[in-house]
Amino acid sequence: MSFPWAKHYEPKAPVMRWIDEKLPLPRLVYNAVGAGYPVPRNLNYMWNFGVLAGFALVLQIVTGVILAMHYAPNATVAFDSVEHIMRDVNWGWMLRYAHANGASFFFVVIYLHIFRGFFYSSYKAPREMVWLLGVVLFLLLMATAFMGYVLPWGQMSFWGAKVITGLFSAIPLIGEPLQIWLLGGYAPDNAALNRFFSLHFLLPFVIAGVVILHIWALHIPGSSNPTGVEVKSESDTVPFHPYYTAKDGFGLGVFLIIYAALTFFQPNALGHPDNYIPANPLSTPAHIVPEWYFWPFYAILRAFTADLFFLPAKLLGVLAMFAAILVWFFLPWLDKSPVRSGHYRPLFRKFFWFGLIPAMAVLFWCGGAPAEEPYVMLSQIATAYYFLHFLVILPIVSAFERPEPLPFSITEAVLGSDKKAVLGENTTPAT
């Protein structure tokens, strides 16, 4: 679809030809993730995480649908029904640990996927829509993960539900009625648990739908690549299958090993012990934290400890937390540098590695720590840098930076300075 040299689907088996005539689904798959999709030949392993995220979504839907067969979304029995899964259901312990750690697995690959996008400026034209849909996916994923964590109805579930819906109470005038409406009561209880369960079941399918749009939008311009130079000729690309299916297969294997090690040997390492205590509305755990994948944003929320004129600290924190993600929506227009890849942007690269990455690391670290010094002050500095980076540094740097010379084409970049190198003879594999 995207390049004139893209191969066309020519079914060999009569049965495939028959299906393709009636319903061109094989053709669609062939053009989307098969040999009919030409992909830049120079993608590095940072380009594996889209496929891995898709795998994680399937993994979560499969294990989640199964857990829903045994789970009971009712405040009086929810906790015990999870323990029923852990103790009595055949392989229930494995399915639940796989689902709980699968959420972490999902966020690990999503964060890597997003940071790949930051460094290589994958958000720039003509891929703005891919990026916007990606940010929507991230928001949906966060909502789904949050509601899923409420379902076991342990102490962290309960207080997480209370604190996160409490964010909405910061909104002037309508805040408190809004929180009560969200919970269907004055505190999290049956009504909240039931609606969170319903939405936790629904949203993954919404995510799957947006994923299809995300991939669709990607296939209009085709994938970006580490040089940021657009595809110019056929020698710049290889077909997705077998080249990237093989590469993604290997990447998936590596990731599954890490995931299995966690699921089978440290299944509770990323969880919190307090969630093995049944929800108690009368007693808050001494140190409440969300799951690790919310820590940067939780740190930003907590960094705003002082009122600014008429703006209360609570409102500032909530605004900043939402703004921290919403700002990603505007990246394609904030960063106007004509060069995409961080490899050829000396100033941008320095701010990325020595500014944004350390700031995010500090926010991750402080978000999981108790609200005491020095964590609060550190997270304040990191939060300040976070906003400066995206909203101030990026527009200014992109206006003044002098980029390094770009390779003429992907092919040239692959061949490098070695004048004797040639591409593999099989530049256009017949498939």
Binding site: Y97, P273, Y276, K336, Q380
Partner: protein, 290 residues
């Protein structure tokens, strides 16, 4: 335009958070960073203690679990429930079906008189769950100086380093008048307000140092082990911690045993995937002309 609004927004949040930083720094400078509390000075992390179920090849010691069960039954169960465990689960501890039935029958569980419908008790059966020592939370609080003894089924997972925490708590009771922390101070000298009040007992392994549970294991030989093991306080504490590790996760052994073949297979498949990837890419990898 987008960039102008963006820069202004960015500066707004930066100013707001740096204002908070300045306020915090001023407070810290004038009042000092974080006060010392009794908890921060006297709370201790659980002791190092080894269990057979630790590690990637960990497995339960059935004899130890049986001893731990005996400690639970004879000591803990007077106040603490074990509501998520059924008598049938005791077969995991190495008891035969007949022994499980006999063990279940030695407990009285709530029942209903078949003729009158009145609440009564009857001997337990294998499918019954461990009965609760108190009818409800109010009764539990009333009988224990307002502190409700928590259920123990999941205790080993509901605390950081659970089994070691339980062990440390059981052997860690000490006299706050003489107990010295790492700095060589005693609680009585440094935080007299945090001395245990009436009905409370000092224990440095408990998060807020004073708990309502009197030392449950008070003398060697408090329990007479069926297998003849000497029932020192240390031994009883270790055994009951191991038992509670089992009760929190009866599937622990199966989990670890399943993990190895899964990871072995994944390693094998990933090496194959790597080789396949390498040979597929060989066709398009740049080569030197000579």
């Amino acid at each position: 335009m987008v960039r102008l609004i963006g820069i202004l927004t960015g500066l707004f949040f930066t100013v707001a958070v740096l204002w908070a930083f300045a306020t915090g720094a001023y407070t810290a400078a004038t009042e000092g960073l974080g006060e010392k509390t009794a908890e921060s000075e006297f709370h201790e992390h659980p002791r190092e203690v080894a269990f057979t179920h630790d590690g990637a090849f960990g497995h339960f010691d059935r004899q130890q679990l049986q001893r731990g069960y005996q400690v639970y039954k004879e000591v803990c169960s007077a106040c603490h429930s074990l509501r998520l465990v059924a008598f049938r689960n005791l077969s995991d501890l190495g008891y035969t079906e007949a022994e499980v039935k006999a063990e279940a029958a030695s407990w009285q569980v709530p029942g209903i008189d078949p003729n009158t419908g009145e609440a009564t008790t009857r001997p337990g059966t294998a499918t019954d769950y461990f009965p609760k020592p108190f009818a409800n939370d109010v009764a539990a609080a009333a009988a224990n100086g307002n502190a409700i003894p928590p259920d123990l089924s999941l205790m080993a997972k509901a605390r950081h380093d659970g089994p070691a925490y339980i062990y440390s708590l059981l052997v860690g009771y000490t006299d706050p008048a003489t107990h010295k922390n790492e700095a060589g101070q005693t609680l009585a000298q440094t935080f007299p307000d945090s001395m245990p009040g009436a009905g409370l007992y000092f224990n440095p392994y408990f998060p807020n140092l004073n708990l309502a549970m009197a030392p449950p294991l008070t003398s060697d030989g408090q329990v007479t082990y069926a297998d003849g093991t000497e029932a020192s306080i240390d031994q009883m504490a270790k055994d009951v911690s191991a038992f509670l590790a089992w009760s929190a996760e009866p599937t622990l052994e199966k989990r670890k045993q399943t993990g190895w073949p899964v990871i072995g297979f994944l390693l094998f498949a990933t090496i194959l995937a790597f080789l396949a990837k390498k040979q597929i890419w060989a066709a398009v990898t740049p080569k030197r002309k000579d």
